[in-house]
Symmetry: C2
Subunit: 315 residues, 2 copies
């Protein structure tokens, strides 16, 4: 049973090569992504990668988490602050202080006393969203992620959602915003109108908490090493905060990848959401026709269509 269940899940996996055990007459989403031509993949600039090194685990294994920062026009004020905090090495010596099951892992200064760089900006709440029309329109909307007069399926949180520039976005009432899908990285904040500086960050490690959309800034997504956050012990304090400071997971450093030695810089690429390969991939996520499946769903919520991201193969 194990090996055959593999077949089911291989199709759901974006990073792993498709199982060689039962060649699928109809390709799985993972197989479609793996077969996409090189030209359909978009390299992520090292200047857009935030690299967090946690203290090694109990066995001495390094724990690196790589975060892709969101491109303009989204959340740029907070991202500017994050770049300043990384350049100042501000997070070095801070820690992961909270892990709440099916919700978030959160890191920053547990003492809440560490002085912030003086040049951080205050970002207004309207920047949680941007005026519509600044983004490339996705030519091939995902059923269930765009409204259809014929078959209303859709998104519970917005008029519609779509992919743009490699990211899932939502539209409603003339505004667009990024989504709290699994792996999304957001900015912890105080009560409104405080929108947070960017010094306190969290990553989503459970079912997409989309109710946070438009209420907290989304600044990026974990593209590698999320298991180093999602498999941490859950905190036993209220909301998953670690009650004993010895439970906190030390952060050795957080850097923009360009600050690392070039040999140590992570290199990733994502499947262009404007590519035909992505259209086929998204359709396959909505309608599983690979051998394990019996009933194609006929749709999917956009957070269940993760954009394929992979390491760039060494030349």
């Amino acid at each position: 049973m194990k090996h055959l269940l593999v077949t089911a899940v291989a199709a759901a996996s974006l990073i792993l090569p498709a199982s060689a055990e039962e060649p699928a007459p109809i390709p799985s989403p993972g197989e479609i992504a793996a077969a996409a031509p090189a030209g359909d993949w978009v390299a992520i600039a090292p200047s857009d990668l935030l690299v967090m090194e946690l203290a090694p685990d109990a066995k001495g294994k390094p724990r690196r988490v790589v975060i892709q920062l969101m491109p303009a026009p989204f959340s740029q004020g907070w991202i500017g602050n994050i770049r300043k905090l990384a350049a100042a090495h501000w997070w070095d010596g801070t820690s992961v202080n909270r892990v709440q099951d099916n919700y978030v892992a959160q890191w920053g200064d547990a003492t809440e006393k560490k002085v912030l760089p003086a040049d951080l900006v205050t970002v207004p709440e309207q920047d949680y969203t941007v005026p519509a029309g600044q983004l490339v329109i996705h030519e091939t909307p995902v059923r269930g992620a765009t409204p259809s007069p014929h078959k209303p399926r859709g998104d519970g949180y917005a008029e519609f959602t779509r992919f743009s520039g490699g990211w899932p976005v939502a539209y409603d009432h003339g505004r667009e915003w990024p989504l709290h899908c699994y792996g999304a990285v957001g900015v912890g904040r105080n009560m409104s109108p405080d929108t947070g500086s960017g010094a306190e960050l969290y990553a989503v490690i459970g079912h997409a908490p989309r109710h946070l959309d438009r209420n907290i800034a989304v600044v990026g997504r974990v593209i590698s090493g999320i298991e180093n956050l999602s498999s941490l012990p859950r905190g036993t304090g209220a909301l998953g905060f670690y009650e004993d400071e010895k439970e906190r997971v030390a952060i050795a450093s957080i850097r923009i990848a360009t600050e690392l030695p070039s040999a140590d810089q992570p290199k990733f690429e994502y499947l262009s959401t404007e590519s035909d390969s992505f259209v086929r991939y998204a359709d396959a996520r909505e309608n599983r026709r690979d051998p394990f499946f019996i009933k194609p769903a006929g749709g999917a919520d956009i957070c269940n269509i993760p954009v394929p991201v992979r390491p760039v193969a060494a030349k």
Copy 2:
């Protein structure tokens, strides 16, 4: 920032009491559930609880996982097999063999050689769903979870979804079925038409893989101790299988709660999905008006409206 972020998340938490730090003029979903009258809570029969005891963790801490088995009419053939396997103590000495990030934790006999009880039944594929009309209609459909001619929101995987008898269910083309939400427990299977015996089980530990609905049997949900599965190290083999058998997590026992000494039997209750309290709770999940929030979403996907479940307070 930490304490105030607590406010945001307390509202999203179902088990924890609401934060006492900033009394909310408008109650959060968690506060609404906590304030529900005793009569709105439904006790879960111990005969419907499957109790899995994993080997203690590295610090010797017990690791119990409590699973609520699904009531009729769903998945009863597989659940009958699961009751026989538990009665035979079949799982004792087996292990958790696979943990794939943002997907599932899976347990059973890693050797795939352990002889199954002779009286297990073979369940046909049509039993993944049931004919509509066997379930109580929820009087107050959740917006986004039921079709609306005025404001089409909805479900990407079905004509509509709703709550019935304490469980989220989907409807399409005259059939209804249970959902793969976070914590759902399903039956691993071989290639179709094999539907699995129930000996190989998995729990969802990531974003709802709803594409598995109607393709695999859902037999229950983890109602306590899911962190003992979701925080396990991810397997480094294909699809999260543990490559080294020493990585496997031993299962000491799996029992129906009625087989445990009464003092050791877990006691839980869920908030009736037919109660007014649940209607208010679900509305609050869709429209967060508690102080931290600025923009109520106006909807939610059904897997982001988890049915409140709590331990029964000792009398």
